[in-house]
Subunit: 262 residues, 2 copies
Amino acid sequence: MNTAHTLAGSGSLQDPAHPPQPSAPRAPSPTPCRMAATGTCPVPDLCRNIRNDGRQSLPVNGIDRRTIHRGQSLYRAGDACVNLYLLYAGSMKQRITNCVGMEQIASFPMAGALLGLDGIETGKYMCTAIALEDSLVCVLPFADLVARSRGDPMAVLQLNKAIARETNHYRRLLLVLASMNSEERIANFLLDISERMATSGYSPRELVLKMTREDIALHLGMKLETVSRAFTRLQLARILDVRRRHLSIRNPEALSRLGASQ
Amino acid sequence: MNTAHTLAGSGSLQDPAHPPQPSAPRAPSPTPCRMAATGTCPVPDLCRNIRNDGRQSLPVNGIDRRTIHRGQSLYRAGDACVNLYLLYAGSMKQRITNCVGMEQIASFPMAGALLGLDGIETGKYMCTAIALEDSLVCVLPFADLVARSRGDPMAVLQLNKAIARETNHYRRLLLVLASMNSEERIANFLLDISERMATSGYSPRELVLKMTREDIALHLGMKLETVSRAFTRLQLARILDVRRRHLSIRNPEALSRLGASQ
DNA sequence: CGGGACATTGATTAAGATCAATTTAAGTGG
DNA sequence: CCACTTAAATTGATCTTAATCAATGTCCCG
């Protein structure tokens, strides 16, 4: 498996139908870890790929990186939590299913997200993580992290913060589901996506959604028809241009006014 | 301030209007920490009150325990997160307010809950914690925890799990808000309360709610009238007996069927 | 024995769910 | 490369649920 070449030019594994977006960042060379190089790795002290000088070490064995193709799952609810994963490129959805079969998408992780934290409490994952496009993850064996935590207090603190960050994300989403109407939820959702695109170096105005309307609906506690109608209304209000999964934000201020939550 | 006597006989600081419930646990003596003694402290390795032999040490200074009277706040959103708190007795509500003034109750901590985890990510609390009744907390200075984490890997893991536990709680609540109707939400809420009462040694069938209908509504993303109507319908269905804040669960199976989420 | 906060109940309205029919676009294979 | 197949998205009509507005009831507390 040779993934280095694929990753050289952009932050995601592009499939042919979705060419790189205008502002996609370029790594100077395929060799070093892009995240370590740009300081965007959220857990540098947890990653065994990174040496102290910040340059990437060679993977010591075959499991350090893993490609997940579109539709495949990285891990499933109930699996033993032996690894955390850093999403290096691509995007995923985290699905929760309860005993009655009700389903929700808890989040849509993008490049830079730490995956698998939902397994820490009980030792078994609560969610199933499914790739929305061909994606690449760094594998962080949990036993490694624990071992490393002995010597390195910073590593522990980073993990603490990463989990706390996820908690806060859900707390905010909770507020959205508890108090916003459909249009505001969609606005809030798009602001979140837009912001994360921006921190990944993409344009915050031109979005290409990787998920279906159904996925969005399951995420926001609405029905897919309602999602579609909300998009239509935002388009009529000249806040968005919607062409299926291609969105452009025409009026960011209005969008913020609608969906702001912090 | 002498709280030892008040705490001797029950898990909460009873106000005169609410006498101890039938199955309230009894501590043999006011001196040892009830939670340490019964093994119900979720973070024994983080608590400076507990010596290695499991018996309570004397508080080394005045800030080790704090009483919060009904309606008072333990900490407020935006305050610097210098302490975590273990809720030793009583109950609280955690309020989030966003920039637009929308409000939600994120959770209703009861005895045994760890409070203040919402401050770990940024160093400032995200929520305001307000006592629903006179309550008592153990103060856990955050700096202590960090210092202790160097020598004690278990302490770190306990903190990790505590945060992850909170995350999972919100994840589940998210599913409730995203996919349940008003009656199911109330059922789920009551099951949660009931279960926590049971783990505190109280009857899971006889509940005395400490929060208003409005608080419940803010927690579950509904309006207080809808909460009231849901209670009425559950009573008509002979699942509950409702007399204002005094509830008895007549048909636990039916309640589970309605509100089960994991 | 009020006064005021809290809770319940009723009538009406509005938002979103549901059911159903198209429309659009993206693959797929000849 | 184009017709075909299918998944995804949009749109419309109707129904249900919960929100809203308003009045009344109940209980706790001074």
